[in-house]
């Protein structure tokens, strides 16, 4: 087996908490790319949710099941199609959308199997990214986009504005959104998407099927 692709670093405590706060107690939740299961654990113990996970890294899966949490090996591209319609109240995809093969199909699947989708992704519209490409003429490397173009797993980068546009094309209602910095703290740009698209390092969206 080849080494599993590690997605962007998951220093997630703060943005995990933000996500957990978006989820109504007692909900059925699927966390795609659940890593060590921190969100599932939080939702199960603190919010009485029926929370489950999918994770691509087999060692992480074994570790998380060993902690008594329900996780299955799989990935966003190939495993969502096996779930029935409306099996969940929330499906979470944190910092992974930009690394899947088919982001649009994955989003459709998420909003087929779930009432709501919570998606976070690194914002490619951030000013540092823009400036680096403009001044140096080379692929940007920042703390968020930390790996060179030839080995990054992030094959589908997008900006906050791109994501808004996709939601409109696909007919998804953006119920909530906010920009956050790399540590997961909320940024003050949340009311102005243009500013958020320049200054937000990460974006967090809650979508609903219309």
């Amino acid at each position: 087996m080849t080494d599993p692709v590690r997605y962007v670093a998951k220093n997630m405590r703060l943005d995990l908490r933000l996500i957990a706060e978006m989820i109504a107690p007692g909900s059925r939740v699927l966390d795609i790319g659940c890593g060590d299961g921190a969100l599932i654990d939080e939702l199960t113990r603190m919010r009485g949710c029926d929370a489950r996970g999918i994770e691509i890294d087999m060692a992480e899966v074994a570790q998380t099941i060993s902690r008594g949490l329900p996780v299955m090996h799989g990935d966003a591209d190939s495993d969502l199609s096996h779930y029935p319609d409306r099996a969940f109240d929330y499906v979470v995809l944190s910092r992974t959308l930009q690394a899947v093969e088919q982001p649009r199909v994955v989003l459709r699947q998420m909003l087929r199997i779930s009432e709501r989708a919570i998606v976070s992704f690194p914002n490619f519209g951030h000013w540092q990214v823009r400036l680096q490409l403009l001044l140096r003429g080379r692929m940007p490397m920042t703390s968020v986009w930390a790996r060179p173009w030839y080995e990054t797993p992030n094959i589908h980068p997008c900006s906050i504005r791109d994501f808004f546009a996709l939601c409109e094309t696909e007919g998804y209602e953006v119920e909530r959104w906010l920009a956050i910095d790399d540590a997961g703290r909320k940024s003050p740009w949340r009311r102005f998407s243009g500013l958020a698209n320049v200054f937000g390092e990460q974006a967090l969206f809650q979508l609903r099927r219309v």
Partner: protein
């Protein structure tokens, strides 16, 4: 070889004189289930764990085998302080219907005082095995099993339990198994069966009265099967091309005799097996595995076997298992997803092939212990136990 030793020992058992209607339409007039238990049933009768054994396993999961003198067959999994902790859970293991360690099977007389069934023993299915186990569980006064756990053919029984008696199974752990027996697996079983048939001592299945057993045929069947339980890596690591008796033997190129160490290993596997296993049981049970197709029992859709299930599943496979490869386990997990079931699924990295589930695999132990611990919390077992 003389009569099998398997007939000579007494087993703890329960007799069900109301009999059992089999999938084939025949009715067994009386069913005996030989079983062992370990640990204690709690006051709420909620901590029972049923272990389902594989093709050539038996009920002696947690103790020295009375016939072979070998240690418990799932020593790393079942016992005090083990993942299936006998200080916490009440562990039950029964010899399968059709077996030869005391449960009703081809060695038994058709009726008291009559000749043994032999090959006239009705064909049975995995579901028949499970129905027979259900009688035992009812007899023990257990309304719901906390967990049903098994590998290989034991895993087939686990899935059949969850599909047939969903309300009786809180947690299910099918390990190194599949939703149906594949053409390749049926093919290997058929080679084994043909080896038995072609042994003159088989005597059309009525060898019990001859004082001899088809040891040659059954031994070959075991040798073929044993290869499928291992992996090329494991065989290479263990034996490579090492010769019996060192280089001297290599000088004389001989057609016969066990030149290579792997040959004598397999022959040893074959010859020890025939001392503890009955050839007709082997035929009956391999057939039951071949018949097994859980999807076919549910309109061709495996997920329908689990519609509305509330059982929590943990599906486990091993990376080098080519007899029950990971893709079969993934198909089970996806069928469970389709049924919106609560399912964990992991492939454990091992080079030991199918046999890995019986061996000391630390990841298997960790996953099992963690999954059962999590389920115990959801089942409210913790508070009752402490």
């Amino acid at each position: 070889m003389d009569q099998s030793d398997a007939t000579r020992i007494a087993h703890q058992s329960a007799v069900f004189t109301d009999g059992l209607l089999l999938d084939c339409g025949q009715r067994l007039p009386s069913v005996t289930m030989a079983y062992r238990t370990y640990g204690a049933l709690n006051a709420a009768r909620s901590n029972a764990v049923l272990i389902c054994h594989a093709l050539t396993g038996d009920q002696y999961v947690g103790e020295t085998h009375p016939l072979t003198g070998r240690g418990p067959w799932w020593e790393t999994v079942v016992g005090p302080g083990r993942p299936v902790d006998t200080e916490r859970y009440f562990v039950i293991c029964a010899n399968v219907l059709g077996g030869c360690m005391g449960s009703t099977g081809p060695m038994d007389p058709r009726a008291p005082g009559e000749a043994p069934w032999g090959t006239d023993f009705p064909p049975i299915t995995i579901r028949d095995m499970v129905r027979a186990q259900k009688k035992l569980i009812d007899h023990l006064g257990i309304a719901r099993l906390f967990a049903v756990i098994g590998g290989s053919m034991g895993g087939m029984q686990v899935l059949e339990w969850a599909a047939t008696y969903p309300q009786m199974v809180f947690a299910a752990v099918p390990i190194a198994t599949a939703g149906h027996h594949s053409a390749q697996n049926i093919a290997f079983n058929e080679v084994g069966r043909q080896a038995i048939f072609s042994d003159p001592d088989f005597a059309g299945g009525q060898y019990y009265s001859t004082g001899r057993v088809p040891a040659g045929g059954l031994g070959v069947a075991r040798m073929v099967a044993h290869i499928t339980y291992l992996s090329e890596e494991a065989l290479s690591r263990k034996f490579g091309r090492k010769l019996q008796g060192g280089q001297a033997a290599a000088q004389a190129l001989a057609l016969f005799g066990d030149m290579f160490q792997v040959e004598s290993y397999l022959q040893h596997q074959g010859s020890t097996f025939v001392r503890r296993f009955d050839a007709n049981s082997y035929l009956t049970i391999t057939r039951a595995m071949d018949y097994y197709d859980l999807a076919a029992e549910h309109d061709g859709d495996l997920s329908r076997a689990f519609t509305g299930t509330r059982t929590r599943f943990c599906v486990i496979s091993f990376s080098s298992d080519w007899l029950f490869p990971t893709r079969e386990s993934r198909a089970i997990a996806r069928a469970l997803n389709k049924a919106a079931a609560n399912v964990s699924f992991v492939e454990i990295e091992s080079d030991k092939g199918h046999d890995a589930f019986l061996l000391d695999e630390p990841d298997l132990s960790r996953v099992l212990a963690g999954f059962l611990g999590g389920c115990a919390q959801h089942a409210g077992l913790e508070s009752e136990a402490r």
